[in-house]
């Protein structure tokens, strides 16, 4: 059996688990309601008086910090709690196939959820003439950001049998890294750190890289940043899962 087919079999199984449980629908509804509230009330969609989705994208990093770990927290901790990790890792499956299969399933689910916000695109196109290129690039940024948060959640999930701990740990990691580029925090840090160094620190933040997508700039450096950060977290996950075996 080819490498790809095994990964795909795992992805299919995980997706079925999502769609077969109420979690998927609770998640979708929560996401759509919250993104609506953030965009139209807190984001001031109408006050801005311009045909753009910036009020929607502005809030995405903060909303996803809580929603992505909710999707990713069960990936490994449930396997560990139920003992099914023993079954999975004694099948002819490599650790990487298992990690990628699980990651892909959750990522696809998240992308579908984000894509379901499409009525916003219709609304804004109906009300005015937005730059749809900027909107597309914003969505690409959301997909990449969700993937990176998800890789963090994978790692947190692999480290514990307890889903709640996995959730809290990944929220903290995502939030911490995001805040490094959040203006109030960087302003505060600027009292002690020189501006060049602040910029270096802020460069590690998801926010700094997400910003350019929001402005409609698809920069390879930002794409490389998200992909490599996700790969880094998945790599650490693979070490943790291997450690479970040598324990």
């Amino acid at each position: 059996m080819s490498y790809f087919n095994t990964t795909l079999a795992i992805t299919k199984r995980e997706l079925k688990v999502y769609l077969g449980s109420p979690l998927a629908f609770v998640f979708l509804i929560a996401y759509l309601i919250l993104s609506g509230i953030f965009t139209f009330t807190l984001g001031g969609f109408f006050d801005m008086n311009e045909a753009s989705l910036s009020s929607f994208f502005n809030w995405m990093p903060w909303l996803l910090i809580f929603l992505v770990p909710a999707v990713g927290m069960r990936l490994w901790s449930e396997e560990r709690r139920l003992g099914t990790i023993e079954l999975l890792l004694t099948l002819p499956v490599t650790v990487w196939q298992a990690i990628l299969g699980k990651f892909l399933a959750s990522w696809v689910f998240l992308m579908v959820a984000i894509a379901l916000s499409f009525p916003m695109i219709l609304t804004v196109n109906w009300l005015g003439q937005p730059d749809n290129g900027v909107i597309v690039s914003g969505y690409v940024g959301c997909f990449l950001l969700a993937g990176t948060y998800l890789a963090v959640s994978c790692l947190a999930s692999s480290m514990t049998r307890n889903q709640v701990i996995a959730f809290i740990f990944s929220v903290m990691l995502c939030l911490g890294t995001t805040l490094l580029g959040f203006a109030p925090i960087t302003n505060l840090l600027s009292r002690w750190i020189s501006p060049e160094n602040i910029e270096k620190v802020a460069n590690f933040s998801y926010l700094s890289h997400f910003d350019s997508f929001q402005r409609g700039v698809l920069d390879t450096r930002d794409i490389v940043y998200f992909v490599s950060t996700a790969a880094f977290y998945l790599f650490i996950t693979s070490l943790v899962v291997r450690q479970v075996r040598a324990r």
């Binding site: 139920l82 099914t84 004694t90 099948l91 490599t94 075996r245």
Partner: protein, 256 residues
């Protein structure tokens, strides 16, 4: 077909296995006996590639479990202890998933599914979620999962645990039937099971093999001629003094 060589395993400071070696040939059913915590499950987890040994090696069908893990795993069917399965899946979907991972597609997949459904009598619960199954059906689903690719090697960790006498009988029949062509290792607490099914048995106690022979040989070593007397004589002594046994053979002889 299974070759276990000088296996050592420790968890932290705790030595769980010391110098465990044995072989299983095709057509042989090896019973794995021992008190709780003796190292039965650990040995099986190492054979199936779930745990890594601290030292020593395992070869299955000529493949080294450490370096040729995938090839080795393809030849093994494994029933983990207390059959941890994906609870939320339906029996049929679960077995289909395992078949896909095992590389079975199309007609060969449906044939395999039909075969294990019949072998393990799962037709009644095929569309039922695993979490709603009784212990007996759960265990049979686990067994079906291990049999789906018709493996050359079967590793079964307490396959009859928690089953009623009829179900135990059925599983034993199945093991006996399959034992004619495959190499089977199964662990159990039930001594009469060993007499009924195994061509050979190993007794492990505190991580050391204390006896290795046929059930008949074991019985002849006690004055009463009973399996449980033999079991007690080799395991009680070793629980008191875990690493005293220099080798399996000499130790079991002292107690005979």
């Amino acid at each position: 077909m299974i070759k276990v060589d000088n296996l050592f395993k420790s968890f932290g400071n705790k030595q769980v296995l010391s110098d465990v070696s044995f072989e299983v040939a095709p057509g042989e059913v090896l019973g794995f006996l021992g008190p709780n915590g003796a190292g039965k499950s650990t040995t099986m987890r190492i054979i199936t590639g779930f745990l890594e040994p601290s030292a020593g090696s395992v070869e299955v069908c000529g493949f080294d479990v450490a370096t040729q893990a995938l090839q080795a795993k393809e030849t093994i069917g494994y029933l983990p202890e207390s059959a941890a399965l994906y609870e939320e899946m339906k029996v049929g979907d679960f077995l289909k998933f395992i078949a896909e991972i095992r590389g079975l597609t199309g007609a060969s997949q449906s044939q395999a599914l039909e075969r294990v459904c019949e072998q393990c009598h799962l037709d009644r619960v095929w569309h039922q979620p695993i979490e709603t199954l009784s212990k007996g059906f759960r265990q049979r689903t686990g067994l079906a999962q291990a049999l789906i690719h018709d493996p050359q090697v079967l590793v079964l960790d307490e396959p009859t645990d928690g089953l009623d006498p009829n179900q135990k009988f059925e599983i034993r029949e199945l093991i006996t039937k399959m034992g004619r062509s495959k190499a089977i290792v199964f662990s159990t607490h039930v001594l009469e099971e060993v007499e009924a099914v195994c061509s050979r048995a190993i007794v492990i106690s505190a991580g050391v093999i204390v006896a290795n022979g046929t059930p008949k040989e074991f019985k002849s070593r006690t004055p009463s001629g009973r399996m449980d007397d033999f079991f007690r004589s080799v395991t009680l002594a070793d629980t008191a003094n875990p690493l005293s046994a220099p080798s399996a053979q000499s130790n079991s002889e002292t107690h005979a």
